[in-house]
Assembly symmetry: C2
Homo-oligomer: 197 residues x 2
DNA sequence: GTCTATAGGTGGATAGAC
DNA sequence: GTCTATCCACCTATAGAC
């Protein structure tokens, strides 16, 4: 693996282990096995390194979401989006935390890359589109798509954050994924049009 | 106000403004208007100060939740719990972030006070009780109360975190509270027993 | 591209005077 | 209880040799 790749890889590990407060160029250099100076040949400064991490995270996240489009019906595509969301959060917990759970101030970051912001919006638009499809197909209440998308996002993000904060340590991965399925069931129930009575 | 109170007050402000990375004893002392040394007369060290902050936060949070018990029916008590949750999150955003959104590692904390952990569990038990009531009254599907409570908590926590991370800045407080009401509606719909068809 | 050496800064915490 | 003075650890970042 190239040094630049190793730096990014170890950055993720370091962030997970020590948290944002414990992330330092010196500590990183030690893990990578070079002197701190060497890092500055690959990244302009600390902010640039973290920005790259964020950027790659969103890029990767997008590819997870796109998988959901192979679903055959709008409702299935919405559900697969939810599953893709948790796939990403569980397989890349450090990136997820960095992208969605860490205020910039906590990273000591002054500015966030514009492209990261744009990708964040893109993610939300993707979800809004899934909701619009469902409304058009009559499998979801006809409420403002953005409000519904926010509700869905909040629900999956809430569960993912609780998990990644270590507050559900008593559940093994299988049990957690079962709860994810339950959550997605509940989300669908919350969106379902009133049934004929 | 006594110095000790002022220290705690300014700690919250400092955490909100600068994030956990920007929280330092020196910066705090400057805000309070004393020298850093003086802080150590009131708190053994940085960890003890943050632990006190956490502890008071949970204590205050409990008092918010208890208001919900004035509801007349199980469903109303559940809904009022949700409202109380957001009341606390919006009125004490720095405490909320500290209690529910910040991994200990990000604070540079080695250990979390046991009483904070216990209060966290207590909070969850409160919610489980609200759910159990609803199940007993037949207004909620008869599923595992803990799983249902986790779902409800994840949903409100998700929305609160997104809000406090500044990602819904385009909504003013009134608009946000409207969305809260919408979210609570959706939660109730997701818990409702299948209606007779 | 990586090193040694170093500048310049911030942080937690304590000793001892008042 | 609060101050001045201070110690020591750790941080980001750069200059210049190899």
């Amino acid at each position: 693996m190239e040094t630049r790749e190793r730096i990014l890889h170890e950055s993720r590990e370091l962030l997970r282990e020590k948290g944002s407060a414990g992330f330092s160029m010196r500590g990183l250099a030690e893990r990578v096995g070079v002197t701190p100076t060497a890092l500055y040949r690959h990244f302009e400064d600390r902010d640039a390194l973290l920005a790259t991490l964020l950027d790659e995270g969103f890029s990767n996240f997008s590819s997870y979401l796109l998988r959901a489009l192979s679903g055959k019906t709008p409702l299935e595509r919405l559900r697969r989006s939810g599953i893709a969301y948790f796939d990403f959060a569980l397989e890349h917990p450090r990136d997820y935390a960095l992208m969605f759970m860490t205020p910039c101030a906590d990273l000591g970051l002054q500015t966030v890359s514009e492209s990261a912001k744009a990708r964040m919006d893109g993610t939300f638009v993707f979800l809004v589109d899934r909701i619009k499809e469902c409304i058009a197909a009559g499998v979801c209440i006809a409420y403002e798509p953005r409000a519904l998308a926010l509700h869905v996002w909040a629900t999956v993000h809430g569960l993912a954050s609780i998990r990644l904060n270590g507050q559900l340590a008593e559940l093994d991965e299988r049990a957690f994924r079962e709860h994810v399925a339950f959550t997605l069931d509940r989300i669908e129930a919350s969106l379902a049009p009133a049934r004929a009575s």
